[in-house]
Subunit: 525 residues, 2 copies
């Protein structure tokens, strides 16, 4: 049967191991989804086999967790005082000094938070399987909302005017249907459409665009009502559509494809209580004693029959030597370590170019987005620097909540990253108020912002591979392919070495591939 | 500012009361949303003013609740042993004998349920304000999912083949964009599109359809992957698009407009634990002593200065006389009461024609839709009699869950309603298996079905007004408008007397309008 999702990460691990006789050969493995499970590494290793893992983010903790299943002795070195890396849930008490030198301490109300890094999980990602396996409770993430707004500049009267998403969609779909209906009826497409095709297309377009009997778009209830229909003769007041040219030239549909993108289409999920719940669960399974927090790695060198890693912890220089090393540090930071990596590997690492991205969370003491704008999750989109405003997907009907005042990258993020937090907030509120009105500036009780290029131990939100157009992977990049190979006993892992860059799925599948490779080496030695 | 939702129900209540000097006149009330609140009926009545309410569903309990705020003495007569009427959450222990004479008792596992009636709430509906006011916790309802399937018969090779929703959407949008792009480029629309319009349209269509540089649709990652991209050189296997004619003539897009319909577009919400939580909360606020369960009304008559209602309870004939009566019984059942309603009112009641609808819930002891099909909520659509399969929006990653095996109406429901439960299940499983595969028939631990035309005290899912094309209201129907007027001291209320038929919002706004009218009469007398 066509059409059912499968994930490939598990297949990879099984495939590698089955050649070693450790896992059952399964011809149908590519079609038969299996969650990661205790059996992933069948056959524990005998004796002591040590692996030092640099970085306690998604790749590092996943690797440690899977290696532990196989009986490996693992040590995770993590510079921060928390697990998760770029998966960072900011809540009351979170304190951070950024590379601008500014210290912020979060003062959100108890139970409220926002994810400064990863915040959503597509249904096809192995991340959900880890949530299942680790017992991390999940809930839907609002990644689409007809009641949020679009707000763009254009050369039309609509320029800079906030438009409800449902109205933008109804008008764009309406006019698009009217135009195609007209062209088809005129015979302009008779070389590619048969009479039967034309009839079926017409039927579809009438429904899709809510066209009149003569094929015109004259507005629709899908746009929403000035006042909601109620009882008796309260039939509601429909809003009139914008003009065709205004809608087309205003670019109201410029962001529509987001919601049917492969990794953004609803349903999207997220852990209850913050994305970092996944990493606290990993930590609990791995054992806190095997994760050394506050350990800043300074050197990583292949030595005879092992890898020696130096780090500072509590102001003291320390070192650990292990049989193997899995390095999950951001590729842009690896070259700074004292190392004996070959020059071509160091050059390849430099081809991973950090991307700028950041978020600002604003706690409001009044859920105006529910009370006034009838918004329960989802995001408002704009071409202003804030790019989007993300509404909370939890604490519905509470007396307060945290709105993400911007989540942007590239040029739009660079307009914020050098600012002080107070300046960021002021700019975000000014741009947000231009969309949602002056209430956007009222009832703010606290806020917190982060910029990943200015965040210690990351210095980037994710990477793009130099010379490669695909923002999700390194397809066709020789630098990328070079780093897939181990250097001595050092293996690199992370979302940057996957085709799901900036996704936890990428980090997990990379970690699983590297764990499989390490295990294969150990068993073959 | 354009584009923000408001509801009209509150405006109606305020408007009516302000003419009586009871509520503050508010010129901006239509734009300034206010939740229902204690202040709705400002100024309590003095002395004893009694209202008997027939029916303990959404309209009846809302009316009782609002009247209690104003100091009225209310008695609710409800034939069932539970509140909520057609809002019916079926869970372990639910037992019902239908009008076919068959008794079912639900054996779902503890905590699992399905809503046999109302199950979702649009963001604009006053239902959410009652949830807020009553403290009923809400969560997102999965009303759209790229991973569910569409499955339709057609005259193409795709006939009867299940296709993932995301693939159907990508192909339909792709070809639609290619065709419109081509027509525009050929100059077929030059009379309605300026050169600037054409350029903007082309830019939109390339993104919307994921077209190639020469404007063709050649497939897209939006369709999903045969295997999900993972680490290293696991770039994933994209699925090839179907042919243009197959897609158009196969009617793959026939249901797309559902998800941007005014009252179905995401985000949609629902109470945690079942829709009936709202009515248990109403019951607690009203006071159980004011609601008489098991009270089957047999007569309703205007008498001097009041209304006399007769009913049977515990096998005994009883009666109550009150100053006013609010009758929320289904319009199709009112004429059966002993009554002294005028002939034209009885005729008007007959113009409300009951619609057939029903659902069947299947508890599986394995969440195959998550494990194999990567589906977390939403619905599969088909033109088979089951019409749709709805996946649970809660208990994610549990070891079990309740799938709604059909939710259909009209002809499709009539194919089920006369069957025994066992026959319904067999038919639903056969049709579901043709879509989701043979796993659909495995791991079934229990099931429960209901057909509203065969359900005592309802005998219909909702009504359509004779001679009116609008399925959501009675716009233009003289029968509808007649029933908006009280008959003596009897007022009719219910979703059938609103422009949101089959929605709780309709019942609530109707109840609020009638409460306002009763209050106005009392104060004017």
């Amino acid at each position: 049967m066509q059409g059912l999702g499968v994930t490939g990460g598990v297949g990879l691990a099984y495939g590698a191991l089955s050649t070693l006789g450790l896992a059952p050969a399964a011809a149908d493995v590519a079609r038969d989804f299996r969650a990661p499970a205790r059996g992933d590494l069948i056959g524990r290793v005998d004796g002591k086999h040590s692996v030092v893992i640099l970085g306690g983010g998604p790749a590092g903790l996943c690797a440690a967790y899977e290696l532990r299943k196989g009986g490996y002795d693992v040590t995770v070195l993590e510079a921060r005082q928390r697990p998760g890396g770029r998966v960072w849930s900011v809540r009351r008490g979170t304190s951070e000094t950024d590379l601008n030198g500014e210290t912020q301490t979060c003062e959100f109300s108890e139970g409220h938070y926002f994810n400064l890094g990863a915040t959503r999980i597509p249904q096809g990602h192995i991340t959900l399987d880890y949530c299942r396996e680790l017992g991390v409770e999940i809930q839907p993430f609002g990644n689409q909302n007809a009641n949020t707004l679009v707000h763009y500049r254009s050369d039309t009267p609509l320029s800079g005017q906030p438009v409800q998403y449902r109205a933008a969609k109804a008008d764009v779909y309406g006019y698009m249907s009217e135009l195609l209906h007209k062209a088809s009826a005129r015979g302009a497409l008779d070389d590619v459409l048969s009479a039967t095709d034309k009839e079926a297309l017409s039927s579809f377009l009438r429904d899709f665009g809510d066209l009149s009997s003569d094929g015109r778009y004259l507005g629709t209830s899908r746009r929403g009502y000035e006042s909601e229909p109620g009882a008796g003769t309260d039939f509601g007041a429909q809003r009139k559509p914008y003009g065709m040219s205004e809608v087309i030239r205003g670019g109201l549909g410029r962001n529509f494809s987001f919601e049917f993108d492969h990794d953004q289409a609803m349903m999207m999920m997220t852990p209850v209580g913050g994305m970092d719940r996944i990493y606290h669960a990993f930590q609990d399974k791995i054992g806190s004693d095997r994760i050394r927090y506050g350990a800043e790695v300074t050197a990583m060198r292949n030595v005879t029959d092992g890898v020696r890693v130096e780090f500072t912890q509590d102001g003291k220089q320390q070192s650990v030597t292990a049989d193997h090393c899995i390095c999950t540090l951001p590729p842009n930071l690896v070259g700074r370590l004292a190392n004996n990596l070959p020059a071509d590997v160091l050059l390849a690492l430099q081809a991973a170019v950090p991307v700028s991205a950041g978020k600002l969370g604003i706690e409001y003491s009044r859920r105006w987005w529910e009370l006034e704008d009838r918004i329960y999750g989802g995001a408002t989109n704009t071409d202003a620097d804030i790019a989007q405003i993300m509404f909370p997907y939890d604490h519905f009907h509470s007396d307060r909540g945290v709105v993400v005042g911007y989540y942007n990258n590239g040029r739009q993020q660079r307009a914020f990253e050098s600012l002080t937090h107070r300046q960021r907030l002021a700019k975000a509120v000014a741009e947000g108020s231009a969309i949602h009105g002056e209430k956007y500036g009222r009832d703010i009780s606290s806020s917190f912002s982060g910029s990943w290029r200015r965040t210690k131990f990351s210095e980037g939100a994710w990477v793009g591979w130099r010379g490669v157009s695909d923002s999700h992977g390194g397809h066709g990049s020789s630098d990328y392919e070079k780093l897939l190979q181990p250097v001595g006993r050092i293996h690199f892992a992370g979302d940057h070495l996957s085709n799901a860059i900036a996704w936890q799925h990428g980090a997990f599948t990379s970690a699983r591939a590297v764990v499989t490779a390490v295990h294969a080496r150990v068993l073959a030695s």
